[in-house]
Amino acid sequence: MDITDVAIIGASTRGRGLAEALSLAGFNLTIVEIDKDTLERGFELIEEEMDALIAKWGLTESEKKAALARINGVTHLDEINRQAQLVFVTVQENIDLNKDIFSNLDKIMNPDCLFVSHTAILSITEIADSTNRPDKIAGLVFLPPVTQVKLAEVVCGLHTSKETFLTLREFVQVGMSKTPIQITEFPGNITIRMLVSMINEALCIAMEGTATIDDIDTAMKLGYKMNRGPFELGDKIGLDLVSVWMDYLFKDLGIGSGAPHRLVSKLVRAGHLGLKTRKGFYVYDEQGKISGLGALNQLKRMESF
């Protein structure tokens, strides 16, 4: 099946990132977002994000114009483009909400249309069971910024057919120029599970007094050629989200993979959510550059003794 038209449910961070990448890759898009303000803000942010690409020479004005012209925003599911061959659901990672949306889509979309959930933690199989096309349901997860990161996690549930998997793999590879990897459904897939474990372990190292937060980041950046260390990554993603993932994975994966470190929820309660509040493991200046250590600065550097 040739995919030319795609619909995205949700215009928050993940929906927006996807819309930007897919429109630049030449797909015709409909974004369905029930909240009008979120939809409008979504369009503004997509444009800002494209301007940022232009400022770094990754895009031209005419490419931006053509891409924006391919995106259509609507506020009701009934207005979705029924010709779409693929629908992305990017709403909050809440199982009941997702099941509800998938079952509604099942009623209105063409029977050949594939539905994918952009979820890191929900069960594709459980979502698929809410539809009459469980073989056409899969997960497809990209990492932000979607335009830059070349990875796509193609997640198969227990009902996902080989044909669905092959179509999605082709879509990702040829349509989006990304490298697909195959995952059999499990909470956290690869990237989130590894990331959460790493941040959790890094916190343990810091709290034991083995090393400071910035030294741990420096070690991982220089040692493993990472652009950001675990703490900086956590701040960038948002500690509220990290905390949700930690709890969910702990609950679903069991005690074996480590109890969530209580410091993350402590910071979240204090409103120190990372880069977006300019306070997290680090504090940030207006340009988003690290200007010092955050509230956990009670973990003093050795040299200050």
């Binding site: 040739d2 030319t4 015709n28 020479w57 031209t60």
Partner: protein, 398 residues
Amino acid sequence: MKILVLNSGSSSIKFQLLNMNGEVLLVKGMVSKIGTRSATLSMDIPGKEKVKEVSEILDHQSALENIVKALLSEKLAIIQDESEIIAVGHRVVHGGESYSASVAIDDSVIKEIRQLFELAPLHNPPNLKGIEVCRRLFPSKPQVAVFDTAFHQTMPAKAYIYPLPYVLYRRYKIRRYGFHGTSHAYVARQCAKKMNKDMKDLNIITVHLGNGCSITAIEKGQVVDTSMGLTPLEGLVMGTRSGDIDPSIITFVMAQEELGLHEANAMLNKHSGLLGISGVSNDMKDLMDASETTERAQLAIDVFCYRLKKYIAAYAGVLAGVDAIVFTGGIGENASKVRELSCEGLAFMGIEMDVEKNARPSDNEDLSTGKLKTRIFRIPTNEELVIAQETKRIVVGE
């Protein structure tokens, strides 16, 4: 004897149908925005009104089917039967080191074109797509590939080897290939005709200034050097491409601005050149219009002409004297100021433009003062005609 000429791009197919008895253009046109519901088929039939249709065309196959249908339509009366088209000529950008001339397409040629994807990732894949679709649609018609790189294959190693570790040439075939070969070959031949001489008795510099710009030194009919290199980014300043720069600038800017490979590539290919300097436009005509009021528009023109002059003088040295310089391409044919500035001050080496004649050029006239060695011509290029001629030569022999 009718020949169809195709130039297949990623989302467009340009085509011309020529009657080779007398080399008459029957129709030229293009399908654009392939892959969308608003694809456009436009056609220009000499002496008739222009045709434009918008419809859903999702791939190259249906684009070509639409073209054939239009050619056969009773209303347009271009041809009555598909069998009137005796062969199809394809523009293929990169022929690598394998092809120094046009070639009849068979499975091995297709395999070779595919192997060159790495060297021309933007051009060879859609070129091949056009060929494959044609082989499906017209399995019995001969198809010919005409390569942009072929004419330049006579260059000696000293001109095509880069001063880099030689292992890179061995491993990746990193060397100068040159592009626009079909255009350079055509205008050089036309130039010899105008001078009533054989190409073998002439040293010619051909200057192709269009969207992309390149310059070629042709000694006794053979290319000895050309300004584009491994890719069409090297050499002259272009609309949005930088041409020659200090290679260290790339790594410096990538580090300072935290650019990835894609951004660095796009910066050099899409945000540089005339557009990059001027900040106004990549179009020479826009810059000429803006030059009196916008300093950087004038600066862009100055850099463009200055660098072109350096190449002309260098190639005059390579050829040990030039019999003729030919300007072609959109800018080369229309921007008299560019022709004038790029030859200015070269009288000491036999190149002197007659500013009056150059301002009002006719296609046949020598634009030089006629007092010194070098003739200067403006000759409109016609790559499609060359592709059709080559196709005819290969299909029916000379």
